[in-house]
């Protein structure tokens, strides 16, 4: 009974202090709002309008039509003309353009013999006749840009010749579930919930305990009968509400602005979010028992935040990472929540069917709470 009263004392004190700290209170709302708008618009893995140049050795009407046709795909945007390949390579080196299309002098002959033109199929083993019609020089250091240009390799040339497409039957048929229009925001917005919660939840709690010692309140607090676990719980609960507010902001605005659906039930969403919020909060508490001041707490938060953004599957697919990196990713709560929230929001999965992630987050919370309470000593030495 007294234990509950003590938790309530810490909790209501924390809420009162938070409501007076305008800056922090503002951040609670502004961080999700601004980051959602920023990343929702900015992050785009469907690459379009890459600035490219052209070296046109043929200078014929055909070469100009070829350039127009390539532009029409919207993958690239021709911004510069270069006299020769040396100039083009220099331009790539100083990132004036990311790639250059080199159109050879004999482009019309090459085109005429090209199989897509359909004057009968020349034998493909014949080196003379199976030459490509032009060449791309690409800055391959950015793999995403390189992949986008590579996708142009098999570009149909039917428009160029104003005749119906002579397409081959594809080997596979692809049915795209959950995000048929392939909009990046559909994947980014739920992921952003995980990233923003990781950031704010760990940051708030890691600072919460350290602040008590920094401002000299700890000496008073530890001469009272309050127990470490009560202090921890009293510090965590207010931030759970804040986390819930942030999730609501991100998902409702994501739905309004970026048309990201929320397919799963709100109960499933609430359960998954609560699991992750408590896991992140206890991680923050563990940090706070190591940090000597708020700056150190902040540094450790960033140390956790970076891998949570890069390894959790938010930016890059988890399945593409090497095995060792996958183990590290598994240790981060954000990775598990990333799966859960995308599952619930996009695929209407019941989280109980993803029990590994659920149990992992629950265990992480309990372990974190135990470690933080054990490490927190009610003494000054």
């Amino acid at each position: 009974m007294n234990a509950l009263l003590r938790i309530y004392a810490i909790l209501s004190k924390e809420l009162t202090q938070l409501s007076r700290d305008r800056m922090t209170f503002g951040m609670v709302v502004m961080i999700p709002l601004i980051q959602l708008l920023l990343f929702g618009y900015a992050i785009n893995t469907n690459i379009r309008h890459i600035p490219v140049g052209v070296v046109d050795y043929s200078e014929t009407g055909l070469s100009r039509v070829l350039i127009e046709t390539v532009s029409a795909t919207q993958v690239v945007r021709f911004t510069k003309h270069y006299i020769d390949i040396q100039q083009a390579e220099a331009a790539i080196a100083r990132t004036e353009v990311r790639a250059v299309l080199v159109i050879p002098k004999d482009v019309s002959q090459r085109l005429a013999r090209h199989q897509s033109v359909g004057f009968g199929s020349p034998p493909s083993s014949d080196e003379e006749t199976s030459r490509p019609i032009a060449q791309w020089l690409v800055d391959g250091s950015d793999t995403m840009i390189a992949a986008a240009i590579k996708s142009l390799r098999a570009m149909p040339l039917s428009e160029l010749l104003s005749k119906p497409a002579n397409r081959n039957t594809p080997t596979f048929e692809v049915a795209l579930f959950y995000n048929p229009e392939q909009r990046t925001a559909v994947n980014i917005v739920p992921g952003l919930v995980a990233v923003i919660l990781t950031m704010t939840m760990i940051m708030f709690t890691s600072a919460a305990i350290v602040r008590e010692s920094e401002r000299g309140n700890m000496e008073m607090l530890i001469t009272t009968p309050v127990r470490p676990i009560e202090l921890m719980l009293g510090k965590i609960v207010p931030y759970m509400f804040i986390g819930a507010i942030q999730v609501a902001i991100i998902l409702s605005l994501g739905n309004l602005i970026f048309d990201v659906p929320v397919n799963g039930s709100l109960w499933q969403l609430a359960a998954a979010t609560t699991l992750f919020i408590t896991a992140s909060l206890t991680l923050g508490l563990v940090i706070s028992t190591f940090a000597k001041n708020q700056l150190q707490a902040m540094q450790m938060t960033v140390f956790i935040l970076m891998p949570s953004i890069l390894l959790s599957g938010f930016m890059f697919p988890y399945d593409g990472m090497p095995e060792a990196a996958q183990y590290i990713a598994e240790a981060l709560p954000a990775t598990h929540f990333m799966r859960l929230i995308r599952g619930v929001v996009l695929r209407d999965v019941e989280i109980i069917n993803m029990s590994f992630d659920v149990y992992w987050l629950a265990l992480f919370t309990l372990a974190g709470l135990a470690i933080a309470s054990l490490r927190f000593k009610k003494s000054l030495d």
Binding site: M1, S12, K13, R20, M220, T223, T224, P225, K378
Partner: protein, 282 residues
């Protein structure tokens, strides 16, 4: 040994271990050697049980600056498990005793040093502890407030609370029932202020002279003189009590510049303090 309902003082220079001693007695620090027992509780084993029966007011204000007076007291009352009704009653009582009724809704951070210190005391005695620790309670307070503060301490001790207070102010130390003089962590003397002054082991002579600075230099060269300190136009000289007649002794000294006026005066606590701690320094 702090007797029940008495005020016991720790007097000592900065860095002599007053705060450390209090922190060990409240269970905040573990002693590097030896054992601590307070109110029959062994520390650190029984620290939690002890905490319900002691109050501790820290040297630096340790309540929340961004909470109001009432919110701070509410917080402490809840931590000590007072019921809603008991909280209201006790807080109203404390606000009245410590003259904070007008400040109920003011933030602790915006109050003066004196008000903040009264709030600190109110919070420390909220759960009616048997034993109260005060670590340099009046270091940020003007003399007027300091007097008032001591009145409140006497009220508390009158109602049976034992108080242990650390200080480096002589006038404050003089108010304690009993007193220990500490230096570099070692107790140099203890007793009531009167006892300490009587047992000091030195005579106090006040000397007036036209050339005090030079006189002081000459006097402290003498092995029988413990110290000499200037007080305005006079020099306060402590002479070892092995000299039966200190006035005569001083007059007999050769090569001393003019001694205009000599008188034997009552020792003060400062003199006690200087004789006790001076030994360590020499």
């Amino acid at each position: 040994m702090v007797e029940r309902g008495r005020i016991y003082g720790f007097l000592g220079p900065n860095g002599c271990g007053k705060t450390t001693a209090i922190r060990m007695l409240t269970g905040l620090l573990k002693p590097s050697a030896g054992e601590v027992e307070v109110l029959g509780f062994k520390l650190p084993r029984d620290a939690e049980k002890l905490r319900l029966r002691i109050g501790y007011m820290t040297q630096k204000f340790s309540l929340y600056n961004d909470l109001s007076v009432k919110e701070n007291l509410q917080f402490v009352a809840k931590i000590y498990g007072l019921s809603r009704r008991a909280r209201k009653k006790r807080i109203d009582e404390l606000l009245e005793i410590y003259g904070l009724e007008q400040k109920t809704n003011q933030f602790a951070g915006n109050m003066s040093g004196g008000q903040r210190q009264r709030l600190g005391l109110a919070a420390a005695v909220l759960h009616q502890p048997e034993l109260l620790f005060l670590d340099e309670p009046t270091s940020a307070v003007d003399p007027e407030n300091r007097r008032e503060f001591w009145e409140q301490l006497f009220d508390l001790s009158d109602r049976g609370t034992s108080i242990l207070v650390s200080t480096h102010y002589m006038d404050e130390a003089e108010r304690c029932h009993k007193l220990a003089i500490l230096e570099t962590g070692i107790k140099r003397a203890d007793g009531s202020p009167e006892e300490l002054m009587q047992q000091m082991g030195a005579h106090v002579v006040e000397v007036a002279s036209s050339n005090l600075r030079q006189l002081k230099q000459q006097l402290i060269e003498l092995p029988e003189v413990i110290t000499a300190a200037q007080l305005g136009a006079r020099l306060r000289v402590l002479v070892k009590d092995s000299i039966a007649d200190p006035l005569d002794f001083l007059v007999q000294q050769k090569g001393i510049s003019s001694l205009d006026e000599l008188s034997l005066v009552r020792p003060s606590l400062e003199d006690v303090f200087v004789t006790c701690t001076g030994e360590g320094r020499q």
